[in-house]
């Protein structure tokens, strides 16, 4: 570890702590319908869109109506994306890689569509060998916007349920959705895309360039509209790379500055939503308490991952490689990492993208050390509540908050209340289901994949590493993260060529269903909780009211999150990365 590495970590946290309250304040205005500086620009256009869709934004929806709009919108998105990805041979901008890109087969497409619809962006294909510019722009990047907005509006609806003083209304789905796109996602993405291009990220619609290098060796340089997709891929915590090597590719992430900027893009909305929550409640302390909980878990992960990667791997030591920092070299486990990011830049990026549901990678998680690889897995085991995905993080965290309130209430022997609203049997049942459904999906799919021959066909490495690949695959897909121990079916990629990616049907289908189930079931539970809380009366704060905005509550909340995560996943994680961390043996 180096002083400079720690400096990068401190600088990153500082920027996050300074910027997210500002964006949070802005977003609170967007969702309470206040005027913002972009209203003159987009206001008229916004109303035009509502007329075009045939919706009345002033029509208030209860939770069932809100959920119905969301599900129908998602269904339409799924079908349209499937059609786009399967029709590559008749699309414009094809044959730009020198050969006609065929569509990936139905099973890979099923997985990819489910993946992008659910904000997961798990990829059983390599971008530059499989996808046309048309599919990337009109299919995948569009869902990067739409799936992000769906996540955010669910969080907004849950907040409205919690603060609702009368009636059952959670707002209007299409209004929240359209405002998210126009006032939040598009402006930040547009500016960010230009920032990335200014640093060397590419943005064009040209043919791949074939060159002969200075030694005369032929090389094809893949191009495309990368920066526009890169910006929303990170901002919307999507994570699906334009290229197969994702944000490690120099065209997606050209230097140390873009690496830092991209990490901020990933965390900025999840962190801001917490501050937005505090503002919408009228009690910023509530938001700060949740932010503090998330931040403690985040910084813990960064510290361990950085230390583990700086230490180097058993395979390096066995080969006699000196892994200490020497002059003008990073030292550490640089296998599967880029020189320009080094150890610290790779470790922070890894933690940032696995605490959120982003899943972008700038280094190969498969090549992380045992302990370094255990951190992303632990992050996933916490069900994406450490900042989490855009929207999903906050609504999942609020379910944990309700659980903590319930447990706290039991401990002091009073009816649990959250912000003056009684948390009763019905709510707590919904909360428990909402919390347990994701781990259930992850463990069920992992055991199915591990126990069956069809599942084992996807595994690339041997020993505990092979098990890590399996469990990571389903942890990642169930939590809608999308990062991977990329050996899992990844060994098929290089042989796939430019005629559509081949996959393992079993893994494609199991993963696809896992993602869909683990996305929409918790959304429905979160909206149901919102509906149940919306109509409740608010009782005044008394002496015996448990406070949810002080350090005691932060500790209680931390305990609940760690306990649930550890109880569900610790035995499984023990078998993979922990074994590797504890031994110097090679497998």
């Amino acid at each position: 570890m180096t002083v400079n590495g720690w400096l990068q970590i401190v600088a990153f946290c500082a920027a996050l702590i300074i910027l997210s309250p500002l964006l949070g304040r802005y977003m609170a205005k967007v969702y309470t319908g206040e005027r913002v500086f972009l209203t003159p620009v987009f206001g008229g256009f916004e109303r035009l869109l509502y007329r075009c869709f045939g919706v009345n934004p002033k029509r208030e929806q209860d939770w069932k109506s809100y959920a119905k709009s969301l599900l129908i919108f998602s269904l339409a998105g799924w079908l349209i994306l499937y059609v786009i990805l399967r029709s590559q041979t008749i699309q414009p901008w094809n044959n730009y890689g020198g050969v006609t890109f065929h569509a990936a087969p139905w099973d890979v497409t099923f997985n990819t569509v489910s993946s992008f619809l659910t904000n997961t962006n798990w990829q059983y294909y390599g971008g530059e060998t499989t996808m046309t510019y048309f599919s990337q722009m009109l299919g995948l990047a569009v869902q990067n916007f739409l799936s992000a907005a769906v996540g955010i509006v669910v969080a907004v609806a849950l907040i409205r349920g919690i603060i609702g003083r009368s009636g059952k209304s959670l707002g209007n789905f299409y209004e929240d959705f359209t405002r998210t796109i126009l006032y939040v996602l598009v402006p930040i993405s547009f500016v960010s895309a230009l920032v990335l291009v200014s640093q060397g990220s590419i943005q064009n619609l040209g043919h791949y360039v074939s060159v002969h290098g200075i030694s005369g060796i032929a090389q094809t340089i893949a191009l495309g509209p990368v920066a526009s997709q890169e910006a929303i891929k990170l901002l919307g915590t999507n994570g699906g790379g334009f290229f197969n090597t994702n944000s490690a590719h120099p065209f997606e992430n050209p230097n140390g500055f873009t690496n830092y900027y991209e990490m901020l893009l990933v965390l900025i909305i999840p962190a801001s939503l917490v501050f937005m929550y505090g503002r919408m409640l009228g009690s910023r302390r509530q938001g700060i308490a949740i932010f503090a909980t998330m931040f403690v878990l985040f910084i813990g992960g960064v510290t361990v991952a950085y230390a583990a990667e700086a230490h180097g791997s058993p395979a390096q030591r066995a080969a006699g490689i000196h892994t200490q920092v020497i002059a003008n070299s990073t030292g550490g486990n640089l296998e599967g990492k880029e020189q320009r990011f080094g150890i610290a830049g790779s470790a922070i990026f890894d933690v940032v993208t696995t605490v959120t549901s982003c899943g972008a990678v700038n280094s190969s998680i498969e090549s992380f050390t045992g302990l370094g690889g255990a951190i992303p897995m632990a992050n996933l085991s916490a069900s994406e509540v450490i900042f989490g995905g855009v929207g999903t993080g906050l609504y999942s965290m609020l379910l944990y908050v309700l659980l903590a309130v319930f447990i706290g209430g039991l401990m002091v022997g009073r009816t649990p209340e959250y912000l003056g609203k009684k948390v009763e049997a019905k709510e707590i049942k919904l909360v428990a289901l909402g919390i347990l459904i994701t781990p259930l999906a992850a463990l069920f799919s992992t055991s199915l994949a591990t126990a069956s021959a069809a599942g084992r066909a996807s595994v690339y490495n041997t020993g505990p590493q092979g098990f890590s690949e399996s469990i990571y695959a389903y942890l990642s897909q169930a939590n809608n993260n999308g990062s991977a121990f990329a050996g899992y079916t990844g060994f098929i990629q290089p042989a796939a060529g430019n005629v559509g990616s081949h996959g393992v049907t079993f893994a494609d289908l199991l993963g696809g269903f896992t993602m869909l189930f683990a996305r929409y079931a918790p959304i429905l539970f979160a909206l149901a909780v919102a509906g149940a809380l919306a109509g409740k009366r608010v009782s005044p704060v008394g002496l015996g009211t448990m406070r949810t905005d002080n350090p005691t509550f932060v500790v209680l909340l931390l305990g609940v999150i760690l306990l649930v995560g550890a109880l569900t996943f610790f035995p499984a994680i023990l078998l993979g990365p922990i074994v590797q961390a504890l031994t110097g043996r090679l497998f």
Partner: protein, 222 residues
């Protein structure tokens, strides 16, 4: 219900056009106007011909000539080896194939990983050893003296950079085979070293393609 379906499909289609065509084409237009070189891949030309991208690593290899004086061919593929006259990039699982990038996916505790590392170490040490069996850089005799980037795979498989330590070791070889003064080569290394962004973000790196392009004029090659 029918009305809901109509709204659902209509909104997805409208957003697809706005966000899938409007947004990226606007970004493309502005980028091509302000940063045309970067937006098109930071391509580098030599004598008017594009030879690569400053951001994409490439192989600097020469044909492998067998004992009979002919090009070695295995299964119809002409064999190549690192060209000692050029700085070499980091190990790549795809031989710097930018049209199909991939991670190495070598695990931290893998025997295959060890084998791969041993291969990289052997290649690197062999390349940096003179025909008289002495290392070009007298300080580099075993794996323990090598910077990690020289013997660990990159992530993107097209990493354009190497560490300064790696470049300094190779500079001894370049100076010897090109009959240059070491300080001249070290000077070039310094010229093509990019420091940390804003002084503290990321790690310094030497751009191998740009450095190699600057070498040729020194020795009178074209």
């Amino acid at each position: 219900m029918l009305r809901d379906l109509r709204t659902g499909f209509l909104s997805v289609i409208v957003f697809t056009i706005l966000l899938g065509l409007g947004y990226p084409l606007l970004v493309t237009g502005v980028s091509q106007g302000i940063f045309p070189g970067k937006a098109n891949g930071s391509l580098i030309k030599k004598n008017g011909v594009v030879v690569g991208s400053a951001l994409i690593g490439q192989q600097f290899y020469e044909p492998l000539i067998g004992k009979n004086g002919k090009q070695e061919v295995v299964k119809g593929v002409a064999q190549t080896q690192p060209d000692p006259r050029y700085f070499q990039t980091r190990p790549s699982s795809t031989s710097d194939n930018d049209a199909s990038t991939a991670f190495s996916n070598l695990g931290p505790n893998g025997k295959t990983t060890l084998t791969a590392f041993q291969g990289y170490i052997q290649t690197y040490l062999a390349l940096n050893t003179a025909p008289d069996k002495k290392p070009y850089d007298p300080a580099v005799t075993s794996a323990a003296q090598l910077p990690v980037d020289a013997v660990d795979d990159s992530a993107s498989s097209v990493d354009p950079n190497i560490s300064v330590a790696n470049a300094r070791i190779q500079a001894y070889r370049i100076a010897a085979v090109r009959h240059l003064v070491l300080s001249t080569v070290d000077g070039l290394v310094a010229t093509y070293t990019t420091g940390r962004s804003l002084g503290f973000l990321g790690e310094p790196g030497v751009n191998v393609l740009e450095l190699n392009l600057a070498l040729d004029p020194l020795t009178g090659s074209k």
